[in-house]
Amino acid sequence: MKITQIIENLNLELLSGDKGMEREIKGVYSGDLLSVVMANAKEQQVWLTVQTHINVVAIAALIDIAAIIVVENMDVEEETIKKSNALGIPILKTNKTSYEIAVELYKLGID
């Protein structure tokens, strides 16, 4: 499934990184403790988090995460947006919780 499809199905707001929108996603990771995410998330996953610091983009770039979904309507720093645009790593935003988004992604057939 492509990122464009999950944006449409889950009604997410695309904040930045639209160059990476056509990427195929493989699975989901949810976590807010960056060191743990760094150790356990896998490439091409979609990452659900409340963290919005520029370090989030650094970790996504390091692991080659397909997209970041910022949950619970957290505000995202300008620096983070800029870096996401530069690297083409989409940041999507929702007011739902990680759990709610995870359930919806599962229903779309992503496991």
């Binding site: 403790l33 960056l34 060191s35 743990v36 760094m38 610091h53 520029i54 370090n55 983009v57 650094a58 970790i59 770039a61 390091l62 870096k83």
Partner: protein
Amino acid sequence: MKELSLHILDIIQNSIVAKATMINVDISEDIKNNKFSIGIKDNGIGIKKNILNDVLNPFVTTRKTRKVGLGLSLFKATAERCRGKLILNSKENVGTEIYVEMEYNNIDRPPLGSIEDTLISILSGEGNEIDIEYTHNVNGNIFTFDTVEIKKMIDGVEITSPEIILWLKDYIKENIRELY
């Protein structure tokens, strides 16, 4: 990171890579002023002036194997999340000093974690090459520990030897426990 001691371990490892031979670690828990601070100072090669402002940016690293360097950036983000700050000072060929301050009672502040494990994991590997001076202040109760003194005391026995390491671990653990 889950515990502050893991940040401390990470920074000390930076110091070792920077060829430091003396590392000072100061921890202060000041409940009255709601302040938790950590200072780490080394006598390593320091950070070049032209990149000093960039090292807190996760996309700047001297590492050749990957494009991002996260140690200091993660520590800074942890401090700021706890309404604190990270201050970095460094002088080429003199050393580097990192000072972190956080709100003591901030709900996002990670626990300190196991200092004895952190110090022991460094000393068991690098104890012959480096020295660590550790000071831990909890509301005015102070524990200090200096491997220069310890090395004099054990007179010729290597600090990395298993019996010394085991003894040190208990010694540090006991003394920190008595601070509270």
